[in-house]
């Protein structure tokens, strides 16, 4: 061990709630068939121009009977957490259980109504949503809210791992969600970061990202009764100290997070059998990430990006992609990167264009975001 702790962190259960399905199993089945949630949308409430994204149907009811007046963001969290908790045996009322919520923009779409008063500001606050969700299930502890751009989901997992290792809690329910609205869409448009078609992560023709909606929940525990389950083995976070809206030129800082995550997990590069990359399909991100993976000595390790299926689900992305990759670990089936054909950086990353049967023990999940943030987490058997 790296010396931090002998405490293992086990994955109890999880949920992915996306336009592709309401459970992890439904999602993985769709992904195995090569189905993508990314479609062209004409939705003037979000954008005056058509756009490609993975969105829930406008009339889709996320919670069957919602007497609480929850927003769509909160409904996604509640539905995802409810499915993950169902039959898990986790007692949310136990003082040893903590709820962690990750999101980039939560209820920001409420600003679009043009009203600007103190009630609205309180309603938009991520703390308000976290409190409502905690009360819905009866969590006794005050929830922790992570809002750290596109690494929020991975940072939620790392925060949980550390709180559990320190013995502060025995179980952690980590849930993330984001909803795509005009606020977010117009911002990415103003950055010219969106692809005019389905995104192509790590492909020569990569030309921007697609946005996506989704929620996901992962429940972690230190209880030895889950000792046969997949473990969260290590994680690390870094900052580029380079630019607030562009990634590192070298990828050294993400590479540093990967190196420290490996050290934390007491593993070496040869123990990593596949990589779930951030892979947003913007040229800047993909190049930086490819450099970081190559600098880490992982250039031969099979890698995928799931952005072609889900788009970039922002605060949920790190969770959704970790949970899908846990399924890959369990089923020895690593998914292809849809949208990818010809490598942009063949010498730096081994991107999977086809599904691959891999008897894997461990995988690496990476994420990077605005503000120069990077995160790496390792899951394994």
């Amino acid at each position: 061990m790296s010396g931090i702790t002998e405490q293992d962190i086990f994955v109890v259960t999880d949920n992915v709630l996306s336009p592709l399905g309401k459970t992890t199993a439904e999602n993985f089945a769709k992904l195995k068939e090569g189905v993508s949630g990314v479609k062209e949308h004409y939705h003037t409430a979000i954008s005056p121009l058509s756009f490609f994204a993975s969105l829930f149907d406008q009339d889709e009811q996320i919670l069957k009977a919602d007497e609480h007046d929850y927003t769509k963001f909160e409904q996604l969290l509640v539905a995802s957490i409810a499915d993950a908790l169902n039959g898990s045996g986790i007692d949310v009322r136990d003082k040893k259980t903590i709820l962690i919520i990750s999101s980039t923009k939560g209820n920001i779409s409420l600003l679009e109504d043009g009203i600007n008063n103190i009630e609205l500001k309180n309603r938009i606050s991520l703390s308000t949503s976290a409190k409502l969700v905690a009360e819905h299930f009866g969590f006794q502890n005050k929830p922790i809210v992570v809002s750290n751009a596109c690494i929020s989901g991975v940072l939620g997992i790392i925060t949980a791992m550390r709180l559990l290792r320190s013995g502060e809690y025995e179980h952690a329910v980590v849930a993330g969600a984001d909803v795509i609205s005009k606020f977010i869409m117009s911002g990415f448009q103003s950055f010219q970061a969106l692809s005019p078609q389905q995104c192509k992560p790590f492909d020569q023709a990569h030309d921007g990202l697609n946005l996506g909606e989704g929620a996901a929940t992962i429940i972690l525990s230190t209880n030895e009764k889950y000792a046969q389950n997949i473990k969260v083995k290590g994680g690390s976070v870094s900052n580029d100290a380079n630019h607030i809206s562009g990634p590192s030129r070298t990828g050294q800082e993400l590479a540093s997070a990967i190196k420290l995550a490996l050290k934390d997990a007491d593993l070496s590069t040869s123990d990593i059998h596949f990589i779930s990359a951030h892979g947003t399909a913007t040229v800047y991100n993909d190049e930086m990430e490819a450099s970081a993976i190559s600098l880490s000595g992982l250039q031969k390790v099979p890698l995928n990006s799931l952005k072609g299926y889900y788009g970039h689900t922002l605060g949920a992305a790190g969770l959704i992609e970790s949970i899908i990759s846990i399924q890959s670990l369990k089923q020895s089936l690593v998914l292809p990167t849809i949208g990818f054909k010809e490598p942009a950086s063949a010498d730096k990353v081994n991107v999977l264009a086809e599904a691959k049967r891999i008897k894997a023990n461990n995988f690496l999940k990476t994420a990077s975001g605005f503000g120069g943030c990077n995160a790496a987490v390792i899951f394994g058997k």
Partner: protein, 204 residues
């Protein structure tokens, strides 16, 4: 595994006043934009990027400048050894509202980039070349126990050797920043590191 930890310095910007280690340095009871500019001028800083920042980043960045000046020996640490952990109540809502206004004409990418609370961490990291751990959490009020726990984990496990942590919150004319520099070594102005002490400084 447990290591010594000290609050090597603290800085508070609140109610028109800038305090360093409990001593008032500067006062200017005016609106937030004028206050932030006057602190920048008072500190005789020369950092053109400052003018591009939103108020949240300006406030946090200035608080970090005051916190670190004469208190932090950068050469004592590798870039990866310093972490930044911040919290607030209003996320980036101050800039979110301004960005939303801009959409009516043309969405402004320079406002959009600040619609994330962790951008202030990025600004502090760029200025000081910090490449270590970082995290932004949203809380109703400053949770000193949570923060102490996070910092303790960083330092006790040698993930970081120094940690800049605290609270940076802005919403229109309401603002408050309280930053702490936590190090393993003691200096002449350091005080004990504890949740109670952070709470006491925060509420002063």
């Amino acid at each position: 595994m447990l290591t010594e930890k000290h609050i090597a310095a603290s800085c508070t910007i609140n109610k028109g006043a800038v305090n360093k280690n409990g001593v008032k340095l500067f006062e200017n009871d005016t609106d937030i934009a004028a206050l932030l500019l006057s602190i920048y001028q008072y500190q005789q800083l020369n950092y053109p990027k400052f003018y591009k920042m939103d108020n949240l980043s300006k406030l946090g960045w200035l608080a970090a400048e005051v916190l670190l000046k004469d208190s932090f020996k950068k050469d004592d640490y590798q870039p990866e050894e310093t972490s930044v952990i911040l919290t607030n109540a209003n996320s980036s809502l101050d800039d979110d509202i301004k960005y939303m206004e801009s959409i009516k004409d043309a969405a402004s990418p320079s406002l959009f980039v600040y619609t994330l609370p962790n951008i202030v961490i990025g600004e502090i990291c760029i200025r000081n070349h910090f490449k270590g751990e970082q995290a932004f959490y949203i809380q109703d009020d400053f949770d000193a126990d949570f923060m102490a726990q996070q910092v303790k984990y960083q330092l006790d496990n040698n993930i970081s050797q120094a940690c800049i942590c605290g609270w940076v919150d802005v919403l229109e004319q309401d603002y408050k920043a309280v930053l702490f520099l936590v190090e393993k070594k003691r200096n002449e102005s350091s005080v004990e590191f504890s949740a109670e002490k952070m709470r006491e400084i925060f509420n002063k």
